[in-house]
């Protein structure tokens, strides 16, 4: 998989007998899976032009260019669909895609490395960055706020954190 692609869905086999496929969407708005232009397989060798036809119980029914029979559609089962990162729309300031945040290096205000962002979570009380690193035993959840994360520098792949007391083991 190319690092500048994000997984937005998966193919789950045939829908009906006319060559339609079942698509599972992983997007925040499920129908957006077809909005990001042609999608790619994980290894980037296959390209899928997707047209959603109707919502179904497990996601969406869709047509793919070049897939005309149920057998062709069944053969695609399990393929994950990747969109080019550049196809995702620009976001306003202070909004970030999870895909951009995951993997960034986290440093404290003194420049010491705290770890890397492993996941972005939201349990209803704001976004949290899960920071993991060799120095930390358990991953630490860092609130994604202006106070706790004053700087997000995507260009240099770095986050500067000013975590509240008691969040990091020696902090």
């Amino acid at each position: 998989m190319s690092a500048d692609r994000v997984c937005v869905g998966a193919l789950a086999g045939a829908f009906g007998v006319n060559g339609e496929v079942r698509v599972k969407s992983f997007c925040a708005e499920p129908e957006a899976v077809a909005d990001y232009g042609p999608l790619w397989s994980e290894d980037g060798t296959r390209r899928f032009a997707l047209t959603l036809t109707q919502p179904i119980k497990t996601g969406f029914a869709a047509r793919i260019d070049g897939v005309a029979t149920k057998e062709d559609a069944d053969a695609l089962r399990g393929i994950r669909l990747y969109a080019d990162r550049d196809a995702l729309p620009e976001l306003p300031e202070d909004e970030f895609y999870h895909a951009d945040l995951v993997g960034l290096e986290v440093r404290d205000t003194g420049g010491a490395v705290l770890g890397r962002v492993r996941a972005v979570l939201n349990h209803g009380a704001g976004d949290l960055l899960e920071v993991a690193g060799p120095e930390l035993g358990e991953p630490v959840l860092l609130p994604f706020t202006q106070e706790a994360v004053p700087t997000v520098d995507l260009a240099s792949g770095r986050i500067v954190a000013d975590p509240p007391e008691g969040l990091f083991p020696d902090g």
Binding site: A28, H98, V152
Partner: protein, 92 residues
């Protein structure tokens, strides 16, 4: 059956004490609590609590729209990551 109104909202007393102490000190800290059953009160707004989920303390920054809920609602006990896809995070 719903809780009687005359009793007022339930809060473990140690949560109130810790919150009051933190507010007086004015320090930027996570208030570690184990009481998932306590109700979120108006005086907790703006504080960050670390609500125990059985394994670790999940930071919960209390905002106005959380008043009346229980702390445990914001600290799930099961892990689910899901897919990143086009999901967005907003820095408050």
């Amino acid at each position: 059956m719903a809780r009687a109104v005359w009793k007022g909202p339930f809060v473990d007393s140690y949560v109130l004490k810790k919150a009051e102490k933190s507010r007086e000190s004015g320090r930027n800290e996570v208030i570690k609590i184990w009481s998932r059953r306590s109700t979120i009160l108006p005086q907790f707004v703006g504080l960050t609590f670390g609500v125990y989920n059985g394994k670790k303390h999940v930071p919960v920054l209390v905002s106005e729209d959380m008043i009346g809920q229980k702390f445990g609602e914001y600290s799930p006990t099961r892990t689910y990551y899901g897919h990143m896809a086009d999901k967005k995070a907003k820095r408050k």
